[in-house]
Symmetry: C2
Subunit: 107 residues, 2 copies
């Protein structure tokens, strides 16, 4: 799902909401970082193993990240690989942050 956020400004704002909400939790930010430095793809198990909280809890965090479109899932047999959507993270947060850059620097 994760709202395609094409040109529709309403959709884009919804997407922004979901993304910033997802980023609000330290564990979720860390999941993204972990993913990033492990090549951008890990199975759910690998991710859950490196976290203090229980399996299902991590699973829910992953679900939120997926709904925000920050990761996507690849079903490979009985494993599920989570893939970091770097472009989307960068596009959305970067675009928002750009509003605060000095004039004449937006893109």
């Amino acid at each position: 799902m994760a709202a395609p956020d094409g040109g529709d400004p309403r959709a884009r704002i919804d997407a922004e909401d979901r993304i910033f909400a997802a980023l609000a939790h330290p564990s979720r930010r860390q999941i993204l970082l972990t993913l990033r430095f492990r090549g951008g793809r890990m199975t759910a198990g690998e991710i859950a193993d490196r976290f203090g909280c229980t399996w299902p809890t991590t699973s829910r965090h992953l679900g939120l990240l997926r709904q925000a479109g920050l990761v996507s899932v690849e079903r490979r047999g009985r494993e599920r690989a989570y893939v970091l959507e770097r472009a989307r993270l960068d596009a959305c947060v970067g675009r928002w942050l750009a509003w605060f850059a000095d004039e004449g620097e937006e893109e």
Copy 2:
């Protein structure tokens, strides 16, 4: 307050937490944007007037933003001016986002 976040990594992570938590709420992001496009400084009244929610609610949002160090307060007589801390927003969020940039591009 707003944690000076100098070199101490622990302090920096706390600061990051507060900042991303503050950014999680749409109203707070909008307050920042409004501030940015009105020259970076507005009185609390000016800000509250442009929002749907009640005065005290907005005041609390401002308090959170201040604790995160994203705005600072200047007391001028009986008015309070909120000043956008662009540098801090950019430094913290930008630095975090940079982890996801292509290799060899981090500053």
